[in-house]
Amino acid sequence: MTKDAVQLSLPGFDQAFGHWRTEYQQQIENNHTIRNRSGIEINPLYTSRDWDGERYLSDLAFPGQYPYTRGIYPTMHRGRTWTQRQLIGLGTPEDYNRRVRDILDRGATAISLLPCNSGFRGIDCDEVDPVLLGTCGTVVNTSDHMDRALEGVALGKISTAMNDPSPFTLLAFTLSVAKKRGIPWATISGTSNQSDYLSHFIANHMFYRLSLPGSRRMLLDHIDFCRQHVPSWNPVSVVGQHMQQAGATPAQTMGFTLSTALQYAQDCIERGMDIDLILRRFTFFFDISISFFEEIAKFRAGRRIWARLARERLGAKNPASWRFKFHGQTSGVDLTEQQPLNNIARVTAQAIAGILSGLQSMHTDAYDEATSTPTAESARIAVATQNILREEAHLCDVIDPLGGSYYIETLTDQMEEEIEAIIKRIDAAGGMYKAAESGLVQTMIGESALTFQEQIETGQQKVVGVNCYQDDEDVRSIKATERPDLARMKEHVRRFTAYKEQRSQDDVRRGLDSIARAANSPSVNIYAKVVEAAELGVTHGEIVSCLRRELGFGQPLIVA
């Protein structure tokens, strides 16, 4: 239907609309402009004048149909709800193993592994003050550690998401364990989370350790290796979460993330890989902020833009390559230290936004995450929040339940416009790699972070308990923070040192030499050599320092 036709079919529309507008303007007390976090002006009312369904088939279509605005599968949450994937990882491999077996005993079908921060820095446990070890993740430095961490876990049946940045040693250790146990690599499934080196370079300096060109090659070798030897593994998770946590607006985040995915896809094409074999294994990872409708529009627009980019720009022919599969994590930035139980309400609102956006997997934050790693109780409430929303709130009865709302569709179109403008800007800068190298993206994020903080400072953005509704008697129960047992951790380090002395030093030299040689011959897959080294007993720190030597170390580019 054309716009004229809609209005013809509604006699008196203009008159009634005009009447409402007059009354609204007479009665509204504080008629100030409202903008969402992405800077889009929000009207008090949306009607068929804003969105009339004229482009339903080309812009929305049906679930499972290109461009997938309403969802990437025909059944969506009616068929299968999202995967609940909570992050776990603390202490020694034995501590982790106890935790993971407990979760599996309770019926979990997927697990995650979060390594110690020392691993993210590229160093082994014997190089760190033991007080810091295992406080934010598990200490896994060797295949032997991984074997102990995964004792009794049916590798090949359980999907594993690992926070495993370049050079992907955790997967290498896992493959080594699988080989030892006689489990074929083709059955190993899961995701290399934190494989997106550009997002680390730009916005999360936790992980950054190889030079940019080195990281670029490492990721491509990893993708190529997985394609050939671990075909059920998702080697790439493109991360928007870091950038939004660092201050990017939701539209900027989506724009930067899709530009990053384009960069990786184009790099794969240049390597001669078949794009249809690669894109189906791309996954995305985003923050879900409390800006409710904006987040929903962000995800709907993102799905549509990615489908079009994959098909039209990258030339992918298989629909599996066009589908935008994403994991959402409720945003920690929105949580407050003040009145911490209020965070349960915030996480609930964020999670509803994620569910209504049609996500494939979700992590809900615990209410105490603004002050510490979650306790057993707060972690249970976070999982229960998902269960209540799924089982009690009837959120999954209808696919894309907000589709067709004048507001949501208009906002989806407007967010799409914003996101596409950002992708254009990154294209003009030569693509995401160059835009990260030059600091353009970092500057844009830094500006947005300051603007948002200013809005909180001035009270333009209200935060309950922070700049309004402060409670003088903010009673908090002071709980004991769970820290790894220091004696056990020291014993773990002692065993590690002994292990390093006892293993075959010839094997270690051989493993590291072949990594170094591969680093200097572009036609050899370095990641294949990393996996071999892991099997020979070489440690995470040894692999990373060898690669740093050969490929260069990069300091994060700080733009103040």
Binding site: R121, M206, T371, N467, Q555, I558
Partner: protein, 150 residues
């Protein structure tokens, strides 16, 4: 902001991170706030060593060191304060920003930390308290200088 608390010459503040954590949104924003309030800010990227920060504090002759910790690096702050004392830099005040669990705050204060700014701390609070901390640190410094001349 209370302009009377402004020092002349201006307060010198080192904003940095020690240990393993790399989350730097907070330290960057706070550095910008202090700079905009007229303080001289020395900012470093994350991942500094304790020895490195002590050396930098000596060279830059700062009044205050702001340590940001979002992922348990606060557990080594008591060691940092010992290193600062051993280097004869007792006069420098140390404040901490970021995620410090309630039950672990007292040990930081006992170790000598002069202020802790958690998530949700507002600009005015941070700027005022750092300015006041710097003023006291400068007084202490000057007093000990006079002492040594005499």
């Amino acid at each position: 902001m209370n302009d009377n608390s402004r020092l002349d010459p201006p307060a010198r503040v080192l904003v940095t991170k020690i240990g393993l954590d790399g989350h730097d949104r907070g330290s960057r924003i706070v550095a910008a706030y202090l700079r905009d309030a007229g303080m001289e800010v020395i900012y470093t990227p994350p991942w500094q060593t304790i020895e490195g920060v002590v050396k930098l504090a000596t060279e830059e002759d700062v009044d205050v060191i702001g340590l940001s910790s979002l992922a348990t690096d606060h557990l080594i702050i008591p060691q940092f304060l010992v290193a600062l004392r051993n280097a004869g830099l007792d006069h420098i005040a140390v404040v901490v920003g970021g995620i410090i669990p309630d039950d672990e705050r007292p040990s930081l204060i006992e170790a000598g930390v002069k202020g802790i700014f958690g998530p949700g701390s507002l600009r005015a609070t941070i700027v005022d308290q750092v300015a006041e901390t710097a003023r006291k640190a400068r007084q202490l410094r000057n007093a000990s200088l006079w002492e040594s001349i005499r």
